[in-house]
């Protein structure tokens, strides 16, 4: 077992690394490296849970680390990578509203706001400075995820944004309180379902495969409207 002081400095270092992965996700265009970054971020989270376990020795933290490792480092990235291959778009170049540089500045701004706002709110909990930092970083990561979800156009990138948000929430809950394990499982179930549905739907949206386009085009409501319109015109001519 490592000493508490060492564990806390490791946690601090890991926290900073998590934030860096967040910044990386905000700015990257390359879809494959986005998933790998998410994988790395989840691994860091599992690392934080493990380090905290070495001090607090609560079995909840250990199972949380295992859960994160299996679901977020292995299974979810695997699903997304598989879908990505099917869609076959290597890069998401469409930044909806804001450029990468602007997003970095917004991110820094967000962290500062969260830091300021939480000074007031969290004082009732009497957290130690490390736990306070963790909570603030958690919320910041959540906001960064939200930034990605709403500023990018490709569904796959949005999903990574949503996943990042959820990692932020997990980080927050790690440092604020010890939630019952069942709640952590529930949120993961939710995550799985949303990600699955969104990725399946994404095939229809992001796809460059001709067949999909055709299928959707073929059954478009607009087409029907046009047909109807023609029909009406035809009727009028008669």
């Amino acid at each position: 077992m490592i000493s508490a002081a060492l564990a806390y400095s490791i946690t601090q270092a890991l926290l900073v690394l998590v934030l860096i992965t967040g910044a990386f996700i905000v700015t990257r265009k390359d879809l494959l490296s986005l998933v790998s970054t998410y994988q790395m971020q989840s691994l860091l989270l599992a690392g934080i849970a493990l380090t905290l376990y070495s001090v607090e020795e609560s079995p909840m933290l250990l199972s949380l680390a295992a859960l994160t490792l299996i679901s977020k480092v292995l299974v979810i990235p695997y699903i997304i990578k598989k879908i990505q291959k099917q869609i076959n778009i290597p890069r998401d170049v469409e930044f909806h509203y804001i450029s990468p540089i602007a997003s970095i500045f917004i991110t820094i701004f967000l962290i500062l706001i969260v830091y300021g706002a939480f000074t007031n709110i969290l004082k009732d909990l009497a957290l130690s400075s490390l736990f306070y930092l963790g909570a603030v970083f958690g919320i910041s990561l959540t906001l960064m995820g939200m930034l990605i979800t709403f500023s990018r156009k490709k569904v796959i990138t949005k999903i990574i944004g949503y996943l990042t948000m959820e990692n932020g929430v997990l980080l927050f809950s790690l440092f604020i309180t010890e939630l019952p394990f069942i709640i952590e499982v529930l949120i993961l179930v939710d995550l799985f379902m949303i990600v699955l549905l969104a990725t399946i739907l994404a095939i229809g949206m992001d796809s460059s495969i001709e067949a999909f386009q055709e299928r959707f085009q073929h059954l478009h409501i607009e087409d029907l409207q046009e047909k109807l319109h023609l029909h009406r015109k035809h009727g009028g001519a008669n």
Partner: protein, 480 residues
Amino acid sequence: MALQLYLGYAIASLVATQLMKTNRSMNLVALSHVLACIALAAYSLNIGPAHYYDKNFLIDTLSVYEIFITGTIFFFAIIYAGGHAERLIDLGLMDKKNLKPYYLSLNCLLMFTVLSFASNNLALFWIFVELTTFFTAFLIAILNSKKNVDASLKYIFVTSTAMLFSFTGLILLFALSESATGKGTLNWDELLANAHSFPPVFLTAAFAFTFIGFAAKSGVAPFHTPLPHAYSKAPSAVSTIVSAVMLNLGMTGILRIYAIIKQTSAGPAASNLLIAFGLLSLFIATLSMLHQRNVKKLIAFSSTEHSGLMLIGIAIGTPIAIFWVLFHMLAHALIKAVLFLSTGIIQRQYNTNNAGKIINIFKMQPLAGTGLILGSAAILGMPPFILFLSKFSILTQVAAYSIPLLFVMLLFLLIAAAAFTNLLSEIFSHTEEVKMERYNAPKRMTAPIVILLVLIFVLGIYVPNDLYVFLTKVVSDLKF
């Protein structure tokens, strides 16, 4: 036992749907599931609510009321869906192989909605609400159109993102109860009982976070953005359910959390927050309605408008205001059902929701036309329809609270009325002859509209005394 029995029946109906092959049989199974849900509400009412099923599930008066509304709306929506699905398949808008997933999702949506209303634990409530989001998104995407998939994805991302903030709020609430009482809990009843010992600033933060998710669920601005797309693209039965039931689900969440914070000195801050979001919803919704040419989108924005009205009612927080907010939930749900079911028939006749292309509606679809015009009058709060009572009473409460607020609200409501009048007068002024085959909607689609119209009229002139007594009990149980 009742809840377990219901749950058993719900699962059995899922299995049965999986085994069935025809539209009619799957429809009947779904309908029997709805009846089981109504039976659950009736039974719980009979044995006297506040019935615990281990400590995580509780059917109290509010749950009974909401489950009853849910059952009623699903009842009409599913009867309608039977006829509607056939038409969608004939037109090639829905794949025949999607019929089974369609009914399975409707059953799941009903089951998870009932379970959310019956949850005593906030985390359970949260997960069930998220599951309803999942199935709603699926139901929106069920038609073969890229626009549906797009609308569905928007719905998922906005709602789920907002719900993650709610989850953050729940974590705060858990930490709060842990530091105040020594034992962390997310159970409504325990939180309500211990509310007075929670530190106000912290509680306000928890409330604000939790509010975001439930607000997205009930279409409060600025989280309403995916709803107009979703409502206008989804099959009408689904739009009805999302607009009537999901809105109530979110509102119930907000109401319960507000009931907790109202006990503390943070009450006024939370109340101001609700008023701000209420006004914002009224503002954005009514202005978007004004230039709207798509009938279904107009009705969708009207949901946001009514969410705003209800939020302000909750914010005022007097027992009378809460009473009428609850009544408003029922009235709004019934009228929205009339409107969406009517526009569903119109959409299938003209293949569009665009007001300019709906021609000679009284000749082509007299019933749907009547439903649209009476439903619009009703949703604007005209007497003698049901919504008049609640809208008028909420506004009276607003008048007692603040006259300037009343005037601002009246202005917005006037704009909404203008928007509806504008669109309706356009639709009903196209009376030229059209050479178009008339779509004969089956009785399954027309009967719900007729019954709902009668219902909103009768309840507008006669409200049973039992309902008054019951709603008064709900308000006092919430400690308002």
